[in-house]
């Protein structure tokens, strides 16, 4: 027991000794800390893009919501359904109802070119034509400014994200669709979900403007319960009148975000990994020079009876501490710079813009700090072993 306490007090005093000598090697120490901060900031920053995008997609899907597309279509953009088909879908078993009928909205999904605020260049903004039940088949939909459009009138409401990213979408302004001009009468939020990137109008109005006859592209429904999905799906896929693809809203949105998330995470990890390797070299350098500068002190301590193990542990502690400081600085920087940073990108599946905010989540910060710790430990290990193995007599003779 006494031995253990002695060992810990050895570690404590060597560590304290090391930390006190930091001001003398502030250049090297600063290089390591900043290097690690850079790695963590880039890692957290890049992954926060993917996290934000995923978040926007995942809040969009409600557990008891489903979406029906033409079979073979991988997004609403390329899907197509006739009026008859949408009626059969709305009347399928499992679809929830209220006093106005089934909670099913047959929708059109097209894009319209509007200039991006940041660059002034054209962007493909999604324009959705919806039916009466549209607000009930999605979670979190809320009009936050102005009013809902009147059914049958040439009016639109715009998502919060779209209004922030694209020019000319303020409540009270007008958007030009071909030869038509539609006033923007309201703005809605969807708790950060994908719908916030969209402009909504009455499906009938959009059908007329885009010469779509009486056809639609998708039907979104709310089911009686999440468990009702299988029965709903089976009844539609076994119906010979239909050739459709039925997905849960959550699965559909996960599929839609897959390409972007894959792109960002593959590239993000690649970059962060390379940077981490570079930072390990930096940390190794710092700790080796720390050991070299203190070889005499370490030899003296060893001669006084301090153990080799204590030397190793305390040097690694020092390195770990420096790395953690770097990790916290990097995480903090990433949080300040990236959290809630609003942007928009192209959703490859539908060729349309999706707006979202970067999210620096606690998990990402924790991951950044773990990376920092690993870099610190690797960077400290080898120099610490070298320090412990220093031949005492030779090191002392250099005095």
């Amino acid at each position: 027991m006494a031995g253990l306490i002695n060992w810990f007090s050895q570690i404590a005093s060597i560590t304290k000794f090391g930390l006190m000598s930091i001001p003398q090697r502030r250049g090297a120490v600063a290089a390591t800390v900043i290097g690690i901060a850079g790695v963590v900031a880039v890692l957290v920053g890049v992954l926060s893009i993917a996290a934000g995008f995923k978040q926007a997609m995942s809040v969009s899907g409600s557990p008891d919501g489903a979406i029906v597309l033409r079979s073979g279509a991988d997004s609403e953009m390329v899907s197509g359904l006739g009026r008859e088909e949408t009626r059969v879908i709305a009347d399928a078993p499992g679809v929830a109802r209220n006093d106005q009928g089934p909670l099913a909205s047959a929708e059109l999904f097209v894009i319209i070119n509007l200039p991006k605020r940041t660059t002034g260049t054209d962007a493909n903004v999604p324009l959705r034509g919806v039916e009466l039940a549209a607000l009930q088949v999605r979670d979190h939909m809320k009009i936050i400014r102005g009013r809902m459009f009147d059914w049958g009138r040439d009016e639109v409401i715009v998502g919060d994200g779209a209004a922030q990213e694209f020019a000319g979408l303020e409540v009270g302004s007008k958007i030009k669709v071909g030869r038509y001009e539609w006033p923007v009468v309201g703005m809605f939020s969807a708790n950060g979900g994908a719908a916030e990137s969209e402009i909504w109008s009455d499906a009938k109005v959009l059908q007329a403007a885009y010469n779509r006859g009486d056809s639609f592209q998708s039907v979104s429904v709310r089911l009686n319960s999440p468990a009702a999905f299988e029965a709903f799906k089976d009844s539609l896929t076994s119906n010979p009148q239909l050739s459709v693809k039925v997905s849960r809203q959550s699965d559909y949105y996960a599929e839609q975000s897959e390409v972007i998330t894959r792109l960002i995470t593959t590239l993000g990890f690649l970059i962060a990994f390379l940077m981490a390797v570079g930072a390990v070299f930096g940390a190794l350098n710092t700790m080796y020079s720390a050991v070299a500068a203190r070889s005499r002190e370490i030899a003296t301590l060893r001669a006084l009876g301090f153990g080799g193990g204590a030397v190793v542990v305390s040097l690694m502690l020092e390195s770990l501490l420096l790395a953690l400081v770097g990790g916290v600085i990097g995480g903090g920087l990433a949080y300040l710079a990236f959290n809630n940073f609003h942007t928009s990108t192209m959703n490859w599946q539908s060729f349309s813009q999706i707006t979202f905010a970067f999210r620096v989540t606690p998990e990402l910060l924790a991951r950044g700090v773990v990376w920092a710790a690993v870099i610190g430990l690797i960077g400290g290990l080898f120099p610490a072993i070298r320090a412990a193995r220093l031949p005492i007599a030779a090191a002392l003779r250099e005095l």
Partner: protein, 384 residues
Amino acid sequence: MKFFHLIWSNLKRKKLRTSLTLLSIVVAFILFGFLSAIQQALVGGVKMAGADRLVVRHKVSIIQMLPESYKARMDRIPGVDYATHETWFGGIYQDPKNFFMQAPVVPEELLKMYPEVVLPPAQSNAWLQTRTGAIVGRKSAERFGWKIGDKVPIQSTIWAQQDGNRTWDFDIVGIFDGKNKNTDTTPLFFRYDYFDEARQDAKGEVGWYIIRIKDPAQAAEVAKRVDEEFENSSAETKAEPEGAFIQGWASQIGNIVFIVAAILSAVFFTILLVTGNTMAQAVRERTGELGVLKAIGFTNVQIVSFVLAESCLLTVLGGALGLGLAWLMISRGDPTSGLLPLFSFPTRDLLTGFGISVALGFVTGIFPALQAMRLRVADALRRM
């Protein structure tokens, strides 16, 4: 050059420190290479865009179709050499993850429009004679293992044939290469006449037009004339130079250039610190020796050049290794399987990288070098 040995020995003095610094420089330049390639993949298309080509799409958005009959009207607009069209096919080969572009085109017009598409004459003749024939770029042909003579089934997410079938069979009659390495050799092109006859809907409608203009300096005027020609029709158009069109797509993805620049500066700032610190240490340790050199008659200029040469040697060596490794890794191809068809290392960036490595050596070496120059011989010797 006769002092090279001295500089080299100085670097070898602390082998471990030198190699660690060298390795972090190598890593920085591998990153530099990767980020250049990513940027090239996303915005590189702008550079290879033809200055004498316009892209014309429906004014409301690219997904609205234009009548095929516009071609004849476009051909007559003053300043237009000729026009051709493409249509988005949205096809899937085996797995939706195998993303690549396919488009129905008019073969003669396409080959004339894009001289960067290099197809042997025998293969282009075969294409003209085979109604179901298709040509595919080298990259996709290699990726999917297609050879001339293969019949490939492609499932369209958009287009159905008369009988409702969405799987289209194409006979591969040619494999094209790019004239330079920036040419996208992933698309598959097949014949519009076959497509238009077989498709169920939207007969006689095409996705977008490409126009060759007679004088690149007149691009803006010709684009305006094209838009005026179709004004107030049921399908109004928006014409713009090909470069602006591609730039527009790139900026839809997001502000790539800014993100890449931010990451690179973070990386280089870090490396600057690490290398600068190494050099400062190296000079500090050698104060005495530098004093001796000065005492036996080496000039200040020589001392400064020794230190600078040492730091530049280190960074250039690291830079060359890093750029070389990056080049090797990048030439293995797109890491995201098909999302970045233009993923390659542009020569210009390779040279920039090399320039940066020299600059890095200079910046990190200059302060220790000046410090060494200012040493007074007596002080330096006393510290021995």
